[in-house]
């Protein structure tokens, strides 16, 4: 399984708000275990989707400077209902604070306008080179990776594709 829990970025207000989407498909293999009789998106993967969307918001606001953006703390992650295959989870994350080292968000997920999950998140921003200068190349690899993925997910554009005529 690719550990990418955001399929598309819909809206982005730089440094303020992101709207993203995660579609759930029966083809996702872990569903066979969660649960055999009742396949539903695991709560922690809903959380991961909220984290990944928020991380994109932070990265874009910081011009993709931090190599790693990871969950430091989640509070009051409340699950209200299930997401079943065939549904699309619409994620909205509002940035409350974004510094060099950390960022804070109120995020939620809805299906067909009905709230499924909400959370308060704190993310930490890291560069491995700060701890070990020898890892600077891994940092750069990550910055490129996340920027490329962001471009791909945002408005469905493939990185490097020429803009459509008249765009």
């Amino acid at each position: 399984m690719k550990f990418v829990l955001v399929d598309r970025i819909g809206e982005l207000e730089s440094g303020r708000r992101i709207v993203a989407y995660k579609a759930l498909s029966l083809a996702e293999e872990y569903l066979a275990d969660h649960f055999p009789a009742f396949p539903v998106l695991p709560g922690v993967l809903m959380l991961e989707a909220l984290v990944q969307a928020s991380a994109f918001l932070a990265r874009e606001a910081l011009s993709f400077a931090p190599a790693l953006v990871l969950l430091k703390e989640a509070r009051n992650v409340t699950y209200k209902s299930f997401v079943v295959p065939g549904q699309v989870l619409r994620i909205e994350s509002i940035c409350r604070r974004c510094d060099t080292a950390e960022s804070e968000f109120c995020a939620s997920g809805q299906v067909d306008g009905r709230e499924i999950v909400r959370a308060t998140l704190t993310l930490r921003h890291l560069n491995l080179a700060d701890v070990d200068p020898a890892l600077a190349d891994i940092d750069q690899k990550n910055r490129n990776h996340w920027r490329t993925l962001f471009d791909r997910l945002h408005a469905g554009r493939l990185a490097g594709t020429a803009a459509a005529p008249g765009a």
Binding site: M1, K2, F3, V4, E29, Y30, L31, A32, D33, H34, F35, P36, A37, F38, P42, G43, V44, L45, L47, E48, V51, A67, L68, L70, L71, K72, E73, A74, R75, N76, V77, T78, Y79, S81, F82, A119, L128, L135, D137, I138, K141, N142, H145
Partner: protein, 162 residues
């Protein structure tokens, strides 16, 4: 990817506490995306390891008669990163237990160091008028989870075995 985030119970005291361990391996696919060149177990999957440890503990406390669902992560805080070749230890304690719900506190360790703290609330969804649709049979406690308890060899194993 299989959805099992603990490998073995190391300790199981019915109705009280449980410790489960998980080995982290480069054979696990998610490590190759998280993150490129620097594999670390994602915090969300560490939370799931705790949720499975605590969920089985809560379920066993009611003889698996309830559908125990993770309803709320009160707080999950992370202090260290966990890489491949490491063993993670999930220690869960039942804090409160009622007909409708249960709360647990927990710590995650790796090589004796505190990696994270995870406090959870589980719902017994048959007992809550939540208006949700779900199957009548107990879909939560799968063969996979029950097998972990069947194979438990530690202290008090004879009390835990079904």
């Amino acid at each position: 990817m299989r959805w099992i985030w603990i490998d073995r119970f190391e300790e199981f005291v019915p109705g009280r506490r449980a410790t489960a361990i998980k080995s982290v391996s480069l054979a696990e696919e998610y490590l190759h995306d998280h993150v490129p060149g620097f594999p670390i177990m994602p915090a969300s999957l560490l939370i799931e390891g705790m949720a499975q440890t605590a969920g089985i503990l809560v379920g066993q406390a009611r003889q698996f008669s309830e559908k125990v669902i993770l309803a709320k992560i009160r707080r999950a805080k992370f202090y260290q990163l966990v890489g491949p070749g490491r063993q993670v230890r999930f220690k869960a304690i039942i804090d409160q237990l009622s007909d409708a719900a249960a709360s647990t506190t927990g710590q995650i360790y790796c090589d004796g160091e505190l990696v994270g703290e995870v406090d959870l609330v589980f719902s017994h969804i048959d007992q809550n008028l939540s208006g949700l649709d779900f199957p009548q049979e107990n879909f939560v406690f799968t063969e996979q989870f029950m097998s972990l308890l069947k194979l438990y060899q530690g202290a008090g194993a004879e009390r835990v075995r079904l």
